[in-house]
């Protein structure tokens, strides 16, 4: 079946198919298909990964790519970017991100969680400040060992964890959530957040406004020992180069591998076939058209196969929104690069064919 399709012998047919598989794997990992898109300004409470953020309030700049990440804001190995200005859409092609966002008032100097423990501070700085509105202690309750604080309004907040006012014991954790959320939404908020920086205030202490900022991480379903150092600092946040760059790199590798095989065994196997055709009266134009059209068919089939596998993966395990983004980001361009490059390389074996005299086929038959 494969031989009839490709008119190659079995060995080279399998090598040819293997080259596409290898190219796909290179492209797959090169494209880093397991990436996460986060839209600044939208809540991504469900994602393929642990992280989702609520961003409310003014956001200045749309962060398009990870190139816009401000390195100087790296804290404890995390890469953090700041958004300021009107709420808008931006697509960030990173895997894990922490988000700081501005408030109406200038940000105070952040106090690192790590520093807090190191310094052993137990004064009012331990009490978190909630800027999202008032929350009273009487409005807290515990679900499965997690204390929730009911709040009435969210202005600028990320859903994360909040340490109770019994900070010294660190035996309670609270989750801030917006009033009116359903249990389902609450669950999503509970488990869809990861690393977060939280600004908020509360009036738990007689109206004294204290604040704190920290970066705290937790995973779905797990209860963290609050005495532990946050895993944030142990994680390595990685950035990804823009999708289209990876895609181009992957597809070029695909071209090289496939065309190398094609040029190689065209020279060995198809050379004979084309010389025979010349002996039988095929003109050079016909031969050239035969080579190019056959190559184009193979590349279209391969491209379709790669496209089907990658999109199938995205649909099954990824996000449909991401899948659409990926296609929008230039699959058409990549296909054009692939075909044009392949056609160009197919000229090499074609030159080899045309240099031979038809009479040489007689030598090959002896």
């Amino acid at each position: 079946m494969i031989n009839r399709l490709f008119k190659y012998n079995r060995f080279f047919s399998m090598l040819f198919l293997l080259s596409y598989f290898v190219s796909f794997m290179i492209m797959y990992y090169g494209l880093d298909l397991n990436r996460q898109f986060v839209r600044v300004g939208e809540v991504k409470t469900e994602s393929a990964y642990k992280y989702g953020y609520t961003v409310a309030g003014p956001i200045a700049e749309d962060v398009k790519t990870s190139d816009d990440i401000e390195d100087e804001m790296t804290i404890g190995g995390n890469i953090i970017f700041r958004c300021e200005g009107p709420v808008g859409e931006g697509v960030i092609n990173t895997d894990n991100i922490d988000i700081l966002w501005t408030q109406q008032e200038p940000l105070p100097e952040p106090i690192k969680y790590q520093d807090y423990y190191l310094n052993g501070q137990t004064d009012g700085l331990a009490v978190p400040k909630c800027i999202i509105g008032d929350a009273w202690r009487d409005d807290t309750y515990v679900i499965d060992g997690i204390r929730y604080i009911k709040i009435y309004q969210i202005e600028s907040c990320v859903v994360g964890e909040y340490l109770s006012d019994t900070f010294a014991g660190m035996d309670e954790r609270c989750l801030v959530y917006r009033d009116g959320l359903s249990q389902e939404q609450l669950d999503k908020l509970l488990f869809a957040t990861g690393f977060a920086s939280v600004f908020y205030k509360s009036n738990l202490y007689d109206g004294r406004e204290l604040f704190r900022e920290w970066t705290y991480g937790f995973v779905k379903g797990e209860e963290k020992e609050t005495t532990e150092m946050p895993s944030t600092y142990e994680n390595i946040f990685k950035t990804s180069m823009p999708f289209y760059r990876k895609a181009y790199a992957g597809m070029l590798i695909l071209c090289f591998i496939n065309c190398a095989f094609l040029a190689s065994f065209w020279g060995e196997i198809h050379l004979y076939e084309h010389m025979l055709k010349r002996a039988l009266g095929y003109g050079r134009r016909m031969l050239f058209a035969d080579v190019v059209s056959r190559f184009a068919v193979y590349e279209v089939i391969s491209l379709a196969a790669v496209l089907a596998v990658t999109c199938g993966y995205e649909l099954l395990w990824g996000s449909l929104a991401d899948w659409c983004d990926n296609l929008r980001l230039g699959f058409g361009q990549l296909a054009a690069v692939l075909v044009l490059f392949g056609v160009a390389l197919s000229l090499f074996p074609m030159r080899l064919v045309l240099k031979q005299k038809p009479a040489d086929v007689l030598k090959n038959t002896e």
Binding site: K277, L280, G281, V361, E366
Partner: protein, 220 residues
């Protein structure tokens, strides 16, 4: 009529000149069955290549029915070759991943013949050579004689007036070889000009004329 006058063909191998043909002159009339005989290296295959417009020459002239073949180039030469010559090779020269039908129709694809008409001609030709029931087989499934019949069918599909056969029985046993020669004789009687290169005197004896080559020269 094929008219070759003082044809000289020199191969350059390892910076030295090897004359394959030296001042070869001959004429072959329409409808003849001619055998070209000679030892290995005598130049008979080279002569066949030149007659079939598959190779060039260094000196001399070649006229085919009044057409100066030496003046034809590239596309013209390819067209001339497919219009006037059908080739039969010693080792059959069938594409092993193509079926018998696909192999036979190759010359017809070169002239962009529609598929329906191609199939009709190929089927008819396979019947003439007794291979119609093997149309969908690949060459590996056929015997030597069957493959050569397939090759003959391919040589005939374009209705070229001249059949060039290079050692058509060289890879066959004597019985099968004789079947092939009988087939070629029938083709010759139907009006085809048949030129056979062979070193087998029994084969040559069945031709109407034998041209002997030795060291690239025609021996009288």
């Amino acid at each position: 009529m094929i008219s070759i006058q003082n044809i000289t063909k020199i191969y350059n191998r390892n910076s030295s000149d090897l004359p394959a043909l030296q001042n070869v002159s001959l004429e072959i009339l329409d409808g003849e069955m001619v055998a070209i005989m000679g030892a290995s290296g005598s130049g008979k295959t080279t002569l066949l290549n030149i007659i079939g417009c598959m190779d060039g020459w260094n000196e001399g002239s070649y006229l085919f029915n009044g057409t100066d073949v030496g003046k034809l180039k590239n596309a013209g030469l390819d067209r001339f070759r497919r219009q006037n010559f059908g080739f039969i090779f010693q080792q059959f020269a069938l594409l092993k991943d193509y079926t018998v039908r696909e192999n036979v129709e190759l010359p017809l694809r070169a002239v962009h013949m529609p598929k329906k008409k191609r199939l009709e001609i190929v089927t008819d030709m396979l019947e003439k050579v007794g291979m119609e029931q093997y149309a969908d087989k690949i060459p590996a499934k056929l015997s030597g004689g069957q493959q050569q019949r397939c090759a003959i069918a391919r040589a005939l599909v374009t209705e070229a007036p001249v059949i060039l056969a290079d050692e058509p029985t060289g890879a066959l046993d004597s019985a099968t070889g004789q079947e092939i020669i009988d087939l070629l004789i029938r083709l010759n009687r139907s009006g085809k000009t048949v030129i056979i290169v062979t070193h087998d005197e029994k084969v040559a004896a069945q031709a109407s004329r034998v041209i002997y080559l030795k060291d690239g020269k025609v021996v009288e």
